[in-house]
Amino acid sequence: MIATLMAAALPPALAEVPMPVLVLAAGILILLLAIACRRSGPGGAGSETGAGTVAAALIAAATLGLAFAGLWSPPPPQAADMARLFAADAWFAYGAGLILLSSGGILAMSWRRMAGERADEAHLLLLLGTLGAIVVAGSANAVAFFVGLEILSLSLLGLIAYRPRLPDALEAAMKYLVLAGTSSAILLFGLALAYAETGDLRFTAPLAANPAEPALATAATLLVLTGLFFKLSAAPFHLWLADVLDGAPIPVAAFIAVVSKIALFVALARYFAMTDLTGTALPAQDLAVVAVLSMVGGNLLAFGQTNLKRLLAGSSIAHIGYLLVALLSAGPFGAGSAAFYLAAYAAATLGAFAALGAVPDHPDLASWRGMFHRRPAVALALSVMLASLAGIPPAVGFFAKAYIVAAGMSAHRMVLLTALIVSSIIGLCYYLNVARVMMTPAPEAAAPAGATLPGTTVLLGALALATLLVGLFPGPLVQRTTGLFLPAAPGGETAARSHDILYAGAPPPRPRLLR
């Protein structure tokens, strides 16, 4: 009811914007105001009381919760196809839900972590990053997409460098800045080329619209893909990820590995919603090559790591590869398995970072020796998460991986599946190695690790429970993830159907600008 009231009260320009975006934007403004009020109040800028930080965190949590509730609000009235900024469909709702839940988890993880320094801005940047991620996930327009992406990247930059006293934070921020800038430029060039070719700004691969100059359209698609791959850190554009995750604080690393990747993968799937990815066209080939490189390369990168953050970076690259396999497996299971895998990946990666956060400042594997004796709960939780990432039952990753293999099998993606299986076996080696290290008896001198923050404990417990429960009973989530999104299958009929779902209304005639 509140949502209806809000929708009625909105100026018409905002009526089209999905509710979570509005809620987040409002929350950010309130938080800004609260910070400004307190800083200008008695005590001045120096008064960083604990109460103030808690208030900021509470505002952030309330905003995320309301935004999550806003997902159930009635979809906004859709503008004409050309003018649409957002596609508030089921695919967006699912992706936004995952993003908001993950952001909530990251907020819980950083509840007290960032205290002791100025934590207000951290919460602000977290909300801003979430806003950017949701805009990226939901945008149907190239401009909206780009704006969202920049909000996401810039707030991430702030978050990475938030604690400049961390040894590698500034270096990581610089690396992220340079590469994010470069990839944004490439992406923007691709979007511009697509606009030049098709004359509209819809965020969709220009090849789908039968362009007059396929070469230009292909070039545009490849440039956009390259930009997206940079942000997704798919191999061979992955080199920044390990360094940045290593240098960033743990909640921020989790944000990069989970929220930002979910958003970009959702956008990538939407970009190709109308393109036939089953054939041997150049974008499909490009995606397939990147998928194989990411799976094998990511796992090989993680294989020799002695630093758990870098290990998770490699694992994250490999999982992007698995997701690309699902994306390339057009057919009844492709999108469903991708959606399911996104959830499994988000829960497991978030949980793994939370476990790292439970024993702060010990990212190197050697200091995790004997963790099963020293901190059995943390070790068990991390093992569950790694089992999920490795695809070992009863964790949810087992079913998720089997689902992707099923999707690939039904789409006859044998080469990709072979690569998936080979790289899964490589992956098994390093995930098991972590478990083994935690099981080996600790050296006597090893100090008992400090107490875990309550937010992290709750988050870890909830994620471990969810990972196991959904792994044992995947039925409801499978139900939820089917039919979210139908990527174009070969043949015109299905393509038309997915077109209808994504963009209600007939495609308008394309104005020809070049000619």
Partner: protein, 494 residues
């Protein structure tokens, strides 16, 4: 019959209780594990007793939806083959817990929980008839065993456990591909997406496709059985595992491979299996000879027993692919007898290691006067394992060789040659460990087997004797239930 689920849930419940009580007191988990096994035996006895007389080859059935969107159900069925192997699992769990795990000092709660979880997974493998559920249990039983070996194993445990996990999980992924291939071919033909074993058996497959899919299954089961080129994980794993895990591995885990070959290779792909039979028979004969040959030259007593397993399970491969009821029942009898005799041998080897702190037979010898009970039991199980008439192993090997002789005399001759070698290595083992001169100046006083060990191993001996003298009940049960629509290689069940 919902009680079938109990076979999986009861050990899991016991595992949880054992783990929780283990946190309170290190002495509590052992009785919990024993109680769980007693209850499990009672449950299985009830299931056996409740089987309707003359109700056809499938003795029990239960089904519940699991993931309806993908046609995956929690379907379990039990036929005589499952029943025999379930009993083997329960029976062999007793020596594991009664003899080998009582003295675990390092977090006994976790140890017993993992042991019971492995048993739950194995039970699930033997009854699941939904292919995805089967695969779930197949992968599930590896995890606790991996941890058991990694934490409680011997000196080179991590490498061994790692090898074990990598081989079985890697081959499991091949099986997943085959399962999905079969499912989608079936869906393409009928429009129904299902993982149901009985529905999938009706799929019409081209010869090439059938061969490809069958090979995916075959590799997974061949790793587990093991078949010779894929056996490299086994000697290390069996040698390094703690005694209880060794018993479970050799006694039960390897049988899941044989069970899979019967249920999912020969019955699901009868034509492809028939065409593949010459290769399988050759691999079986190779395994018998190679395993026996390597057994002969081992100094490590657990390694010797491990290689002897490779040799004995070659007979299972021969029997399964002999395309006759005789060979099939022989293979099952061989699996049961091997489980009992090798399980007992691992108990004895583990006891030796506890007492002597070595598995090296060069540092043994002359143990008979020092450990008369242990040595005599060792002798009995060694000669059982070499196939002395009157004991179960003889029945199994004899039936398999008879069936093999009918289709390929040369293979049968090679298999029989393996029997000669098995006599050699079994007696060499007895001679080197228990007889001969002791090293140095005799043995100090060593604790011999007490009443508990003698009673449990005596029971195993009695079972082997019954199996050897009156195998008919097992023979009657152990022929797998045929699928209603696909003719078995030997036609309808008599």
């Amino acid at each position: 019959m919902m009680t079938l689920y109990g076979l999986v849930l009861l050990p899991l419940l016991g595992a949880a209780v054992a783990w929780l009580t283990g946190r309170a007191s290190p002495r509590a988990p052992w009785p919990v594990a024993v109680a769980t096994l007693v209850l499990l035996a009672a449950l299985l006895a009830y299931i056996t007793w409740a089987v309707p007389a003359g109700g056809g080859p499938w003795l029990a059935h239960v089904s519940a939806p699991w993931i309806p969107a993908l046609g995956i159900t929690l379907r379990c069925d039990m036929d005589g083959l499952s029943l025999v192997l379930l009993w083997l699992t329960v029976v062999l769990s007793f020596p594991c817990v009664l003899l080998a795990s009582r003295d675990i000092a390092d977090t006994p709660g976790t140890f017993h929980a993992l042991l019971l979880a492995t048993i739950a997974g194995v039970d699930g493998v033997f009854i699941a008839t939904d292919l995805f559920l089967f695969f779930f249990f197949w992968e599930l039983m590896l995890v606790p065993l991996y941890v058991l070996i990694t934490v409680w194993g011997h000196e080179d445990r991590t490498r061994a456990a790692f090898k074990f996990f990598l081989f079985t999980q890697g081959s499991g992924l091949l099986m997943l591909l085959s399962i999905l291939g079969l499912v989608f071919v079936h869906q393409h033909q009928t429009g129904i997406l299902t993982f149901d074993y009985f529905a999938l058996a009706t799929t019409h497959l081209s010869p090439v496709l059938a061969m490809g899919l069958m090979l995916g299954f075959f590799v997974a089961f061949a790793v587990k059985l093991p078949v010779v080129p894929l056996h490299v994980w086994l000697p290390d794993t069996h040698t390094q595992a703690p005694t209880a895990a060794s018993v479970l591995l050799a006694g039960v885990l390897l049988k899941t491979g044989g069970y899979g070959l019967i249920r999912f290779v020969v019955l699901l792909f009868p034509d492809a299996a028939a065409r593949f039979a010459p290769v399988a028979l050759a691999l079986g004969a190779l395994g018998i000879l190679y395993g026996a040959w390597l057994s002969l030259v081992q100094d490590d007593i657990k390694r010797l027993i491990a290689y002897s397993s490779v040799s004995h399970l070659g007979f299972v491969l021969l029997g399964v692919f002999s395309a006759s009821p005789l060979g099939m029942t022989g293979a099952v009898v061989q699996m049961v007898a091997h489980g009992l005799s090798t399980g007992a041998l691992f108990v004895i080897a583990g006891a030796l290691q506890d007492r002597l702190h070595t598995r090296d037979m060069r540092r043994m010898g002359g143990l008979w006067p020092a450990l008369p009970h242990l040595s005599s039991v060792g002798l009995v199980f060694a000669i059982a394992s070499l196939g002395l008439p009157g004991l179960g192993n003889f029945v199994g090997e004899f039936l398999v060789l008879l069936a093999t002789w009918r289709i390929s005399p040369p293979i049968a001759i090679l298999g029989a040659a393996g029997l000669v070698l098995s006599a050699l290595y079994a007696l060499t083992m007895v001679g080197r460990a228990f007889l001969g001169p002791p090293p140095g100046d005799g043995w100090p006083a060593l604790p011999d087997f007490g009443v508990r060990h003698m009673a449990v191993l005596g029971a195993a001996m009695a079972l082997l004797l019954v199996l050897g003298l009156y195998p008919q009940p097992v023979l009657d049960l152990s022929l797998p239930a045929p699928l209603p629509h696909s003719a078995l290689p030997w036609g309808p069940r008599p």
